[in-house]
């Protein structure tokens, strides 16, 4: 569907398109009231929507451990983190709404399986160390992806990312600190940390998306200033940043092909299992059904609440205040 949009966009390059592209090339932000090509709008809605859904669905694997966090401090930090993620979802839905789609529509797309969210959240959190690994690796990868988006050509998205990135770096440090405490702990705790790294490493690398040569969305998004770096560039950066951290922790990255390449000044590393990635994207990951079911249940069970607030607002004949 997207590929078609790109093609039709190319076919009818109008004066408006040229002027639009010039604006982007000149580094001038696009704001909601500005003219924009339909493909640009749709790409952004898709991307911001996916990002928002990822924040929302991302509450679930981590929320799974709030009631079991091992200390009061860790519990508070995790709660604050999950609250941040919900807040990120909110900013992002608001940013997407400036493009002419409502939050309810986006939610319906998510629940109908039409809109995607980051495939990483389809993996289960099985031990407390998974909460550390998520903060360290998943928030770490998210930051890699998101820092360049602070310069995204679309103003509201770029501004949302600036707020979000600040909080994400807290999350990453907190996750790393959970891992640190574990590796400084008992043998059981160290094993728990290593096991979490083993399970989260490859899915984290997949968060950057398929290799550049296989990525459909990259090229046009780069021209439009929606994307600044390629998937492979970001993945390389992530590996280069994270491997020394794993070494510092005394943990082993589960990649037999990992080695320092002096010439390129970065690590060589193995290929993630892209078949697994595609399967998870298609809905066949370990927790896809649980995640969507949980969101569907929250939505359905909450219908009376939302309707009740609407009914009250109508009685007051005040402006609708349900959301």
């Amino acid at each position: 569907m997207y590929a078609q949009l790109v093609e039709s966009g190319k076919a009818e390059t109008s004066e408006q398109d040229v002027a639009f592209q010039k604006r982007i090339d000149d580094g001038i932000r696009i704001e909601p009231k500005d003219w924009m090509p339909e493909g640009y709008r749709k790409t952004l809605i898709r991307q911001i929507g996916q990002h928002a859904h990822s924040e929302i669905v991302g509450q679930l694997p981590e929320g799974n451990w709030i009631t079991r966090a091992p200390t009061l401090q860790r519990k508070a930090i995790l709660l604050a983190k999950v609250q941040d993620e919900a807040g990120h979802g909110l900013y992002l839905y608001c940013a997407a709404e400036t493009l002419g789609i409502s939050r309810d529509e986006m939610t319906e797309q998510l629940l109908a399986g039409k809109a995607k969210y980051s495939s990483i959240f389809n993996y289960p959190t099985l031990t407390w160390a998974d909460i550390g690994a998520i903060g360290w690796l998943v928030d770490g990868a998210a930051i890699m992806n998101q820092v360049p988006l602070q310069r995204c050509s679309y103003g509201p998205y770029s501004r949302a990312m600036i707020r979000i990135c600040k909080e994400e770096s807290f999350h990453q440090r907190q996750g790393f600190d959970i891992m640190r405490a574990l590796v400084e702990g008992t043998e059981d705790q160290k094993a728990m940390a290593q096991d979490a790294l083993n399970r989260w490493w490859w899915p984290s690398l997949m968060m950057f998306g398929p290799s550049d040569k296989d990525s459909v969305h990259s090229e046009q998004s780069m021209r439009w200033g929606i994307k600044q770096n390629t998937n492979d560039e970001l993945r390389q950066k992530f590996v280069d940043q994270t491997v020394p951290q794993a070494e510092w922790l005394g943990l082993t990255v589960p990649d037999s092909e990992l080695s320092w390449n002096e010439e390129k000044g970065g690590y060589d590393f193995g290929e993630p299992d892209w078949n697994e990635f595609m399967e998870v994207i298609k809905g066949n990951g370990p927790c896809n059904r649980e995640r969507l079911e949980a969101r569907q249940k929250a939505w359905d069970d909450g219908a009376w609440f939302r309707e009740g607030l609407m009914a009250h607002a109508e009685k007051q004949s005040a402006p609708i205040a349900a959301e």
Partner: protein
């Protein structure tokens, strides 16, 4: 046990167990704003827990930490009111539980902010703003949903019918409360009961909800006699500390 320690544990246990219940909503609330609000309340409550346990642990002087109090005490030593351990049957129950707790908690914190005990006074002065915000929020939702649609009214009334008997456990008093009041550490219980009645009568009337005429009074939590829900809350909450004794996290 020392009366002051008992008092602090009752306060801290209320905050912890309600915080635990509140946190169960993360990612499951009816709208995103409520996910955020519930996480926020949970966070406030866990923060208050740490403060109360800090006071309890210090007064007790046995070298226990706030985490020891949270994760290593058995059920019979938890002294929270029965209200806060009641399950998240639906979002209406969660809101009503929160509201009834807040309606007691705010007058309590306001009085504690004048406590003769410096630690208690400081704690209450620090947290009273949070508690006021919680009550403002829960009161507002109770009124809107009670006086909302037919279904929201029914759900809020059901929640009130179920939870009301447990408010007796918030307001129950014993010699510990008498001693705390004598020493000026905590308010005279009757004062809080009066404030609670005034708040709930006014708000529930605005919400078109009816306080159930029941003689049922569910008490015992303050003495460590809980409902059957409590064991599961603790089993979940304490699982890591129990599985890996002595580990640091």
């Amino acid at each position: 046990m020392d009366a002051f320690v008992t008092f602090c544990l009752r306060m801290g246990d209320n905050a912890l167990i309600l915080g635990q219940r509140t946190a169960e909503w993360c990612g499951h609330a009816p709208v995103l704003e409520e996910d955020i609000a519930f996480a926020n309340m949970g966070l406030d409550l866990i923060g208050q827990t740490q403060l109360w346990y800090g006071l309890a642990a210090e007064a007790e002087g046995k070298g226990r930490t706030p985490d020891d109090l949270a994760f290593l005490r058995p059920e019979r030593q938890f002294l929270n009111s029965l209200l806060v351990e009641q399950p998240n049957t639906d979002f209406g129950h969660a809101l009503m539980r929160q509201y009834l707790f807040d309606a007691w908690h705010l007058p309590m914190q306001e009085e504690l902010a004048k406590s003769s005990h410096e630690g208690v006074r400081g704690l209450a002065q620090k947290t009273v703003k949070e508690v006021r915000y919680h009550l403002d929020r829960s009161r507002d939702l109770i009124v809107r949903l009670g006086d909302g649609s037919e279904e929201s009214h029914k759900r809020m009334q059901d929640a009130l019918d179920w939870l009301w008997p447990f408010t007796a456990d918030l307001l129950a008093t014993d010699e510990v409360d008498a001693q705390m009041a004598d020493e000026g550490i905590a308010p005279v219980p009757a004062l809080i009961a009066k404030a609670f009645d005034a708040e709930t009568q006014a708000t529930l009337a605005r919400a078109t909800l009816t306080i159930p005429e029941t003689r049922l009074r569910r008490t015992g939590g303050r003495d460590g006699i809980h409902t059957e829900h409590m064991g599961y809350i603790l089993a979940e909450m304490q699982s890591l500390q129990r599985t890996y004794p002595g580990a640091r996290w």
